[in-house]
Symmetry: C2
Subunit: 427 residues, 2 copies
């Protein structure tokens, strides 16, 4: 690691930056489709509103900004005289799960803006530029959670040039296809390829994110570098039995799809608990026709499976599938699974792990991420690095999700220092 | 049993009547809020449409008809010179469960109309009247299933004068209250009491219905008299845990509400199977927030509990509640139950069982009904009797629900004969 220029700003500026991040988290939290809680999904009116807010904040820093062909809000600050210089991407996402917290994704976008504010150069006329041989770009990804269409990382997949044609027919809970939602939002499905970036346009991608787990809270540390992001697979499962009258159908004639799905959810827990570093979650489950007096003829549920390594994750899925065969066989039910998401484990580049640890300073811890992040997609086109912030009690995807202003302040400083360390690297 | 006048009509008339019933079942099946399947709920545009159709068919028989203050369609044919004579009520309901069959409830209304057609008297000018000392009324109840508001038997409860003020705040899945739905349908919540009938206005209530169970199919018989209707209780249950990120939350920190609800559904099955003549059904279950990547913090489910006798039903609920305490305690979850429906077992009057058996003729079987029926509410104001029709394989509350035209023909004949037997009884 080369000796790097250290950030030369008064500490008060960092404090002010962290306060602005916290205030903007509150401001974004008010943009929701579910008043009283936070829900902001891809291609919704709320998506458009937060993109407009982010664009305003980007322009305020002297950056140019555009909404790309997949609805990501992208901003750029080039070095003087090198408008086409490759870019260091900084960012995260602005979409949320239903009934979300205020920080997951959001804090990474807002911290990236503060890093640009701290490191940018301004000439005598106040015109901003990148002080590095590369441009600085802040990206607010449009869909990371996959809340609306069940497919995660749509925004960053478009940027990575990995958009798949089969996704156009994914539907939301109202039956609206992704294709229709694109058009309704004002985007052209035929041009989604234009959101893709080429590896030679990019220097690296750095993302700050709350940990979404309890490790830093348990160890009493504010920040960590990330070594890798867990591999994940997601399935939508359907169990089919027979809908029958709840009163008149004796137990020996029932083929109750909900009871099969209930056994399946418990089997997922039992099997994954028995593995090391694997978690399986059934987050959605619904019975159909869904009447109080009808034996459910069909049940739908989701399965989210994550592991540190691809092979143990796949082995666990095989074991779950065998168990589902047994459960459904006993109950006279049939089942099928559609894989809606699959992402291999992504490893952060050693150099970027080094600059993040150097940015944190001292004995910086390193964690592996059980949660998925935009960096997973972007890893396909450039090196990625991540900085984790302590998440009290590890509560995320929940209104109680938290991060402290003090941790955000040291996080902004560490991320800015990491950028300076990276800029000081011989290339 | 006194010797009764037998129905004096050519057999072809009965065949034609059964064909008309089957054709009208198809016609009503087309009135649905879910094209491609049958769903017709209380106070919906579809409810208004089937009431208009029923009214037309009632008037065609020379009956007077009105929609009562709770949305039931009621028709009447009085004896000559006795416009205020007490009435024999015949009927059933026209609402459905979601994705319903074509016969549950509907066939009872349509068969009642055919019985009126077969037994009515017509003068030289073709003006129809009841040939008995009592009036004939056909009622199409507006809500038996409880699909929309989770509370069953709303229509017949209004007729029985048992409407409860607390029901006005029940909501449908869109948050619309029963009060608002009443107004939107054009009814006045303040006048619901006007739907109530007094015992002295009524002679009895006779209802034909498909069995909604496999007993007649298994024994190879077309019709049965009903001895009693099972007691039922319905609950809406909520399990509360904590919503957390599916990737970042280790198993030892999870309080997964869906897994608690899944264990509960399986416990209901285990406990009820161990009892005699008790069935428990979880027909609805949903996880919240309901995202693929969030550990469910809340789960909602329904429980429908039925038994031949009230005390075993209540004892079973107590056992389920104890088991829920144990399950939720182990998982760090809390649970609560709201009772949304409770109906004691209702016994059919011995005289009405006799006339129905006499109407069927031969060695008529007698069954107890595990399913609830409008007769349960009406039992509070007058004697009730029921006729069951064979339901192939016992499939009900499902698109495959069936009844044969031949069984409908013998059913119409039996119901008409039962009315004649009743009229011949000394009063």
């Amino acid at each position: 690691m080369a000796l790097a220029t250290r950030l030369q700003v008064p500490p008060e500026l960092i404090t002010v930056a962290a306060r602005r991040v916290m205030a903007r988290c509150e401001e974004l939290a008010r943009v929701t489709s579910t008043p009283g809680s936070i829900t902001r999904v891809y291609l919704s009116p709320e998506h458009a509103r937060v993109n407009r807010l982010a664009a305003e904040w980007m322009r305020e820093l002297g950056m140019t900004t555009r909404q790309d062909a997949a609805g990501n809000q992208v901003s750029r600050l080039a070095p003087v005289g090198a408008p086409d210089a490759p870019a260091l991407l900084l960012g995260s996402h602005l979409d949320t799960v239903p009934d979300a917290g205020r920080f997951d994704g959001i804090i990474g976008v807002l911290m990236a803006l503060e890093v640009v504010r701290l490191v940018r150069r301004r000439d005598e006329d106040g015109v901003a530029s990148s002080p590095f041989p590369f441009a600085l770009e802040v990206v607010a990804f449009s869909d990371e959670e996959g809340t609306r269409f069940g497919k995660a990382l749509l925004g960053s997949s478009a940027v990575a040039g990995q958009w798949e044609a089969s996704w156009w027919d994914l539907t939301d809970e109202d039956g609206v296809t992704l294709r229709e939602a694109f058009r309704e939002f004002g985007l052209d499905p035929g041009r989604v390829g234009e959101a893709a970036r080429r590896p030679d346009e990019l220097v690296a991608y750095l993302e700050a994110h709350i940990e979404q787990g309890p490790e830093l809270h348990r160890s009493g540390q504010a920040l960590a570098a990330v070594s890798s992001i867990a591999s994940a697979r997601r399935f939508q499962l359907i169990v089919e039995g027979e809908a029958r009258h709840a009163g008149g159908t004796p137990y020996d004639m029932r083929r109750d799809a909900l009871l099969g799905a209930s056994e399946a959810a418990l089997a997922v827990e039992r099997i994954c608990r028995g593995e090391h570093h694997i978690v399986g979650t059934v987050g959605q489950l619904e019975a159909f026709p869904g009447a109080v007096n009808v034996v459910p003829g069909e049940a739908h549920f989701s399965l989210d499976l994550r592991g540190e390594f691809d092979d143990t994750r796949d082995h666990t899925w095989d074991e779950i599938a065998r168990e589902l065969d047994a459960i459904m066989g006993r109950r006279g039910l049939s089942w099928q699974a559609r894989e809606v998401h699959s992402a291999p484990a992504v490893f952060c580049a050693p150099l970027l792990q080094d600059v993040v640890r150097a940015g944190i300073g001292g004995e910086a811890p390193t964690l592996f991420s059980r949660a998925g992040h935009d960096a997973m997609s972007i890893g396909a086109i450039t090196d990625v690095g991540m900085l984790f912030l302590r998440n009290p009690d590890g509560i995320s995807h929940h209104p109680d999700e938290a991060v402290s202003g003090d941790d955000v302040a040291v996080g902004i400083q560490a991320l800015a220092e990491a950028v300076l360390h990276l800029a000081a690297e011989p290339r």
